[in-house]
Symmetry: C2
Subunit: 270 residues, 2 copies
């Protein structure tokens, strides 16, 4: 019986390590998921394919339920040393297990086919932590679709997957489309389109007060540096500004998204 894999040159290990870069992920249409909790979510997600699992002996001993679920799904298990496992993650504290998961491929039309009540478009968002946090908040607010436009950060990066805290496996994610295409599809599906900008024509509080937010809505959030793009602004029913009562110049993207999405969620449930 051979021991745990200890070679970074092992073909499986090397192929998985290639997924630490966006180029490698795109080429293989796969990404990495770290930790028992996230792997459990990936195994439970309908339509998501877990390709293989790298796990240390110690973690395998501890995570019996997870191993059973992986075996039940016929996922190959590879026992590796701590050193190999650490090489597959980009965190300081690896959690003993890393899995290779096939990127879901969801077409824009399919994502909007069921007439979502709440959808989110991330337009050229650059920060993976912000993108993951917005996906998590969108999930919490009951959103049915998240779209990231061409030119946005890779949502399948380790940082974004971690920041989503499992929500990347709960909400259908469409990537690599233009903002114009996303908004056209959303409006065809019956959504009001709202973009956010500091110089918006509508105040969020006014939309809450006049009942507008009860309608099915797609929210567009723009990049941290440049805000929403011109095509999103042009296609939106309203460009919405959030009130700033103090001396801050603006809100962080994830904070602004939380306020907007929860305003919609509340209005839609009244």
């Amino acid at each position: 019986v051979s021991g745990p894999i200890d070679s970074l040159q092992n073909t499986h290990v090397a192929a998985a390590r290639a997924l630490l870069t966006r180029k490698g992920r795109t080429a293989a249409s796969s990404f990495l998921v770290e930790g028992p909790h996230a792997l459990g979510e990936a195994l439970a997600a309908p339509g998501l394919e877990v390709g293989e699992v790298f796990i240390t002996d110690a973690t395998a001993d501890r995570e019996v339920g997870l191993l059973r679920a992986a075996v039940a799904a016929a996922v190959p298990l590879r026992i590796v040393t701590d050193r190999v496992l650490a090489s597959l993650g980009d965190t300081v504290t690896p959690q003993g297990v890393v899995a290779v998961v096939t990127m879901p491929s969801i077409a824009l039309e399919a994502a909007f086919a069921a007439a979502p009540k709440l959808a989110v478009v991330l337009d050229q968002v650059a920060d993976p932590g912000n993108a993951g946090t917005v996906i998590r908040t969108a999930d919490a607010a009951g959103a049915n679709v998240v779209v990231t436009t061409r030119g946005s950060v890779d949502v399948w990066s380790g940082k974004c997957v971690r920041s989503s805290a499992g929500s990347i496996f709960h909400v259908p994610i469409v990537t690599g489309v233009t903002a114009a295409a996303a908004l056209e599809q959303a409006r065809t599906a019956g959504c009001m389109a709202l973009a956010t900008a500091a110089d918006g024509d509508a105040d969020l509080d006014d939309l809450v007060d006049d009942g507008s937010l009860a309608a099915p809505t797609v929210w567009v959030f723009g990049s941290e540096a440049h805000g929403v793009g011109t095509e999103s602004r042009a296609a939106a029913d309203h460009v919405v500004r959030l009130p700033v009562y103090g001396r801050a110049e603006s809100l962080n993207l994830a904070a602004a998204a939380a306020i907007c999405l929860y305003a919609s969620a509340r209005a839609q449930r009244r």
Copy 2:
């Protein structure tokens, strides 16, 4: 005439470099501020003392207004090479200027003396990005005080200062007190105390509906891993839960804080 400082052993440079660690900041009661925008905010902040400015030749040529403001405030300017400037920052893209700023020392009693309408306590919050983002959101929502409890992340770290986007210079920050002391002071000043937890006894939407949020309020947000501490829970008027409509287990701390603080800001202005 000597050229720009190029030695990392220069006494001013070495003293400033010591401020990259929490230990060094605490010992010197000073912290570092990076970039022209943040330095401008620091120079403009009442009661804040900028000790010295390290700047590259190129940045000095470009930022004439900033230099004038520094000279007007009698702040020593030290021209340094790119290499020295890079050694004073913890970002990949240094912005040409770093300043040493004395930590403001604000007593709990003083911070609450003016009966704030909206205050925030960060109870054992560990992530500097989250702490800075909450400070930024608190500023935007019009909060008058932010307190971080003993055991919380150092708000004067580079990451936290950057994440606050200047708001750390807008809102009085009290650090290093217990949650119990902060809540007692806030309640003495007339604030309702609200802590947040997934198993809270009150739903945020209900507090919005029944008008409770119009009262002066101190919000307590707990650590990312463990939530609010037992002493905060015990001292709070309500432990508030945020509704989760989808499958997310919880919200990110900064997202949750944004929703709560904006709910208060809106209710207080109706």
